[in-house]
């Protein structure tokens, strides 16, 4: 498994506009350094994040997916979108194994607008963890099937 050493995972981050995206902004403003592996997709609410988006991301070759929203219970700008995300992503994590994807590749985090540090830490941890897991098994399957 030596090829894992040079492996730089690609992570897709779905961030809600009001808290988590603002948290990522604060990481920027505070110049908190984290690995450049994440690509952020802004949505208005974590409740908008369809499990299908996550699956598509894995299909397109993402090695990890982060879903981040406002803290439970009441930070959500849309009252309860975070609860919806919690239910959907928790279920999806269970289902992932059946697709042959390690559930650790999908993370759900609550990150507030003042948690720039937390955002950076999550990205750091996730990058590390996925480096250990190696590339998304989908990608390898595709390579094989070609």
């Amino acid at each position: 498994m030596s090829e894992k050493n040079g492996f730089e995972p690609k992570i897709i981050g779905f961030l809600c506009n009001w808290c988590s995206y603002a948290g990522a902004d604060l990481a920027g403003v505070s110049r908190i350094q984290y690995p450049p592996n994440i690509r952020i997709i802004r949505v208005m609410c974590s409740g908008r994040i369809d499990p299908a988006f996550v699956l598509e991301a894995f299909k397109d070759g993402a090695d990890g997916v982060l879903v981040a929203g406002c803290h439970l219970p009441s930070d959500c700008h849309y009252i309860s979108g975070n609860f919806k995300a919690l239910r959907r992503i928790t279920l999806l994590k269970k289902a992932l194994a059946e697709f042959g994807i390690e559930p650790e590749r999908l993370r759900l985090e609550w990150i507030s607008a003042s948690e720039g540090d937390k955002f950076a830490t999550v990205v750091r941890d996730m990058t590390e963890q996925i480096k250990k897991l190696g590339p998304n098994p989908f990608k390898e399957m595709e390579v094989k099937s070609q």
């Binding site: 808290c19 505070s30 110049r31 997709i41 208005m44 908008r48 988006f53 009252i79 720039g116």
Partner: protein, 1007 residues
Amino acid sequence: MANQKIGAVLVIGGGVAGIQASLDLADSGFKVYLADQAPSIGGVMAQLDKTFPTNDCSMCILSPKLVAAGRHPNITVLTNVEVAGLNGEAGSFEVKLRKLSRYIIEEKCNGCGICAQKCPIEAIDTFNEGLSNRSAIYVEYPQAVPLKYKIDREKCIGCGTCYEVCKAKAITYDQKDSEATLKVGSIILAPGFEVFDAKLKSEYGYGRYPNVVTSIEFERILSASGPYGGLVLRPSDGEIPKKIAFIQCVGSRDYQLGNNYCSAACCMYGMKEAVIAKEHTPPPLNAKIFFMDMRSYGKEFDAYYKRAQGEWGIQFVRSRVAGITEDPKTQNLFVHYVENETPKTEEFEMVVLSVGMQPPKNAEKLAESLGIKLNAYKFCETQAFSPTETSKPGVFVCGAFSGPKDIPESVAQASAAAAKAMEVIASERGTEVAVKEYPPERDVSLEEPRIGVFVCHCGINIGGVVNVPEVVEYARKLPNVVFAEANVYTCSEDTQKLIKEKIMENKLNRVIVASCTPRTHEPLFKETVQEAGLNPYLFEMTNIRDQCSWVHMHDAKEATEKAKDLVRSIVAKAKLLAPLKKPLINVTPVALVIGGGVSGITASLSLADQGFEVHLVEKEPELGGQLRNINYLLEKDSDPKEKLSSLVEAVTKNDKIRVYKNAEVVDVYGFVGNFKSKIKQKNGEEKEVEHGVVIVATGASEYKPSEYLYGKDPRVVTQHELEEKLASGTFEAKTVVMIQCVGARNDERPNCARICCGQAIKNALKIKETRSETEIYVLYKDMRAYGFKEDYYREAAIKGVIFVNYDDERKPQVKAENGKLLASFWEPVLNEQVEIEPDLVVLSAATVPNPDNKKLADMLKVPLTKDGFFLEAHMKLRPVDFATEGVFLCGMAHSPKYIDESIAQACATAARATTILSKKTLEMEGIVANVSEDLCSGCRICEYLCPYGAVEMKDKEGKTVAHVLEALCKGCGACGTACPTKAIIMGHFTTEEILAQVKAALVEVKI
């Protein structure tokens, strides 16, 4: 003839109250000048970590308001400004302002921050309460509005470095203080408060012992963006404390210091800080709060208190701390206090002083230059029936300047002050505001996507790390991109012109800016593309500063690659963007007010005075509600009976207000701007009215106790009944026992009824006034005489009223034996059970919600609390709004409260309602859900999921399908995600757009 009135308002103070007042005014057709002494708005709330009782992140909920105020076309934010003088009268003032120099040309400063990075001098960071340093050129905090730097002239040595590094040429060292005169119709004061200087309480060792900190310092310590990154550390050695003491009432309820008043918010914030400290501390934390009375009197506050004790395991000690000493070796602290008459000492690793609120430092100067009166404590003087009016007509007040208070009350008062300010100049609505005209929108539906990409250097903030020319080159080669270029600052005025030119020249029909965050800059660019005839939703943004150059500073190559990925990803989305219409809905400029108590009447009058029609519906045969039971006030500043009759008269005489007595609202249909309701009158007649807003003011009433022989023995009465006796002169008793918290703060009703402590003090003082020999015992759990009411509590104690504390384990008992009424209770000072024979037992009974609330809540599709009161949209920042647009809430229907608080909320609903009623049409956000009716299976999942009630089911050719009420949809997208047949399309965040964005982020395109 009086001076011509002016449709503009000056708001002094840019904290959360000033911001709220400004937004309400600006949204109602008035020009607003929002002035603050500080270099940015936000006030103390910006410094807080979390807010009680929901533990919401303070910055998360405040920053959208900051941005809204900063970007509002009708609000001019003036910072570093002092008031120098006032001329004129209500409706037509001339205010002289002094603008202190920033040494920065605000129009040019982009807030890029390179100056602060290069500045060689450090200064104390006051935003972090001195726990860290900042540069001599600075912004107060990263989210500051306006994001304009300022030179700290005290610290700056004048080396000229910032001038040299500033690419925007915004630094000017010879800027002088300047004066300006503003013409406004009314003025709102919201200068907030100062925290008490804890050094004055020298026995607590603040300033001498490093591990004694103030609560505001502790807020910064708790904050994830604070000095310690959110980890609780001892300032003496950076260790995580295992044991923290919180000391309440530091600088409050302290007669010797001259601050006899209660600061009203500290009990709750003390608890909150203890709770959050536990959350932020990895090893188990022992937190103990030393308090005199736990004043958790607000909505749902006692439930929080209970959780703090139970779930969170905070310990509470009822004691005033006598002093603190330090172990010089460990720098631990010994807290000396008396509990149950026994002196005790306990060692802690850290102590937090819950410091009180003081009037702002410049209060006297401000009062003098404006000609308004201050009270004995130098807060702004107001009266119970006019809580937002100063002694000078046309000048209004809100927030902590009129007395210590928490955020929701400040916000409600702010809206109230806005309503009062509008009333003065209602005739001038719309005269001072500019309506922006855009050119006709170009139809791009038949055009191939032609994308223009503008990549920002942000001075050197982006360009110093990311290879911007390379990104531009890359963008040019992406599919559908027909134009790409780099700008030094894409947000500068001249670049806006340039973007418009490039749109025209290149026939662009999609525009992308790759720069900073859309959270602050998207509205600007949307406006720009709209000015060039493009639909604003054909604009997109990607953030290559906060997500690339600033967070991968040491890896220019990777940062550049990531920037390219982000651009490629957003180009893929932009290709699919569709123009969206901002739905316009008509507004019926009429209000329906449900409930004719003091709240309903006040709201109706405020709206009618501004020229709006009102339907006021009262269930009872008479107007007045609970005010009819009130004979005199604790504050004694006005006669409630007289006020009631003048209010009723004003309503009756006002031809804009249609009063329905003995009537009920039986049906409400429609949505914001367009409601239709049925009012059923006594005679059975039903009348349908059309209206644009609903104000719920259904009140509450005194609980009829089942405890303490009430109803069985005529010598046991409630406070209301006692008041009636006192007013009618039928009171007679030598010994009176008052029992607090009857029917409140128990299992059935866990929350405090808020007004009974004040009632007890009021009635006790009234008894003492006429029959000073009467013995009065007040048996209480916590005397919640918050704010200036503390003065009356003290007065009662001085006049001989005996206050005896009890707890749930040892409740007082009342029995009748041989015709005698006996009351027994535990006397904690004597440490024994006492039995006395009162002539009268007075029960301070809870306030219970209106039993009709449930019915009305269902009709309006709005929620109730567990206790049965109405639940507002957000406990902190939207105290009088419901989540359902166009429906508002005030008075005791919200929770128990005093008259001045009900009046403030009532006026607040008027201001909030005016933001809708003052418009002919409402322009809604274009990002809404749309139902593809052919695909819809009518499963109703979306209807159930929508927190705003924006989805309704309708019949379409015999099939039930979902229909989105665009007026109510907030665009969160939760319904679209849940829809099993994918029949719901989320505007601007369609599934196709998001998936294209994801795919392009991951997969290189072949160029």
